[in-house]
Symmetry: C2
Subunit: 348 residues, 2 copies
Amino acid sequence: MARIGIRQVAAEAGVSMTTVSHVLNDVPNAQVRAETRERVLLAAQRLGYTPNRMARSLRTRRTGALGLISDSIATTPYAGQLILGAQRAAQEHGYMIVLFNTEDDPVVEERELQALTDYQVDGVIYATMYHRVVSVPQALANRPLVLLDAEPADAQAVDGDKGGGVPWVVPDEVAGGRTATEELTANGHRRIGFVTNVDDVPATSGRLQGYQEALAAAGLQFDPALVISDESESWGGYRAARFLLERGDRPTALFCYNDRMAMGAYRAAAELGLRIPGDLSVVGFDDQELITLGLYPELTSVALPHFDMGYWAGERLVEVLDDTDQSAPVSRLTMPCPLVRRSSVAPV
Amino acid sequence: MARIGIRQVAAEAGVSMTTVSHVLNDVPNAQVRAETRERVLLAAQRLGYTPNRMARSLRTRRTGALGLISDSIATTPYAGQLILGAQRAAQEHGYMIVLFNTEDDPVVEERELQALTDYQVDGVIYATMYHRVVSVPQALANRPLVLLDAEPADAQAVDGDKGGGVPWVVPDEVAGGRTATEELTANGHRRIGFVTNVDDVPATSGRLQGYQEALAAAGLQFDPALVISDESESWGGYRAARFLLERGDRPTALFCYNDRMAMGAYRAAAELGLRIPGDLSVVGFDDQELITLGLYPELTSVALPHFDMGYWAGERLVEVLDDTDQSAPVSRLTMPCPLVRRSSVAPV
DNA sequence: TTGTATGCGTTATCAA
DNA sequence: TTGATAACGCATACAA
């Protein structure tokens, strides 16, 4: 049983290979008579024809594969959404996603970049699992490339700008911080603590800025004493929250850098006999359901748009690959972070 | 600049394409003179030759791609480890992993299986993110296939047995349940509650069995009243634990079906004024660091060997693909679940 | 509007 | 021990 190829379809339809190819690929130039076209389509259908991707690839010099290389797929709960988004977009355009991992190890990264080349992927999505500033590896310089949840060290372009360089998408940390804080001011809170982290990443400065903007918008004075930094873990959040809540003029609400720190803040509140949300309102960040749904009361949190970012990156890369004209419409995007309301916020 | 291929290497080395192919692929039959061999290797090196995978694939009818199709990559924190393990194994043998997703939707699954065929992957890893009993889709029946974290509905073979069917790997739920319970009996606990879930999955029955075995091994009587089932969420764990802990002869230790339920148990204990581990010892399952490290005190938990299972599945599939003799050595494996000790267990 | 013929870069068959 | 050469299945320049 000879595997059915374009040749068999041609025979079945009583036409030549060329015609079949034209019909099946919707070649723009040469036209095919509608009747012939129909015949070919039917024949292909009847025979259950599936194009041989290897042969096609050899000929077109395109594999239809997108490489997704990321720093640490294993240890973060975000990875899934990021990858799934990219996968969905790729799938919709007939591409497949091939995974690569650097494990945050330069040696491994080197090896993976080599593999990326060996496998001859058509384009690359360079992803980080936490919003980071990265310098694009030299090996990726002259390839179709999109940055996912990462921004290039030499970035400067404005939102929606062409920017000229490599497209990238990151969460809008500033707007996210604003959203979280506004939820609190909207509930009448006037003393709002910010339990933040100590790392020098875009999220740290961005969310702080959003916090300040929201305060200003509500006519509130920014008080540096209400901002406490610590490790972005549960125990860091505990320490910071405890410090804030033990003050005489304790805040009535806490905006926490992430859900882990919020988890620590819950413990601090419990130890001090403070009820949530009755005595203290709390807003987290990241919307990690393991935490937000696990805590009691369930935690209101700002979600990171991982799926959407992944999807955008996939779409964008396909655009770059498929578009004849390379007039990149948008090369940089910050995505909004939606608020997910639960039960940890109440009016003062 | 013509891309360098086997032809260029041949010219550079002053030999024929055939010879180059022979030495580069270590063809077992035809021997090449050591000196010639050296010359070819050097030429390839000097030119930085990289084989064209599409051409090779077209010829060998093998893509070097393994399809990893899973039910829900997005929503679970396990996915990363599972995928990473498989990816690592694949990588080590020169294969790449291509991702597919069913989203637990039969329609999508249908489409993805089709894609799997279109992309002509050499083999398939069918993975579920929670240990499940599955029936292998018809479309996968006659392909190189390995089940990951899933067991076929018609399974019957013994560990290490050839089994004849498709290879699969799952966690050893029984041993895991035993491990968790033994940690408690070893600390002198004699009244050990089991906060379990209501779903009919292998983990439910397996862990219960392990619990019973450990009790028996410690010479303790199994008391059905100490086993409470509820939804495997934080609030379910809360309810079940609360019920157990309010009894007059409350247990001094709790084995929880998973970390989420343990999280709820923590809350129940706190509300009842019970200190952990002073008044109550707790062991969880899954070792989800977001929870185990977030809780206070940090939760002792039994870890699911996701990375190892992924790795095994990858290795196994490659074996099936590469091995000339198809005498499958092992077709079924249950992996041990190691205990991760933290601070939630103390002697009575 | 449709058909013929060539080549993409390898591997494998056969001959030398 | 090495070298010519024929597929692999498809897309396309060119001819009809």
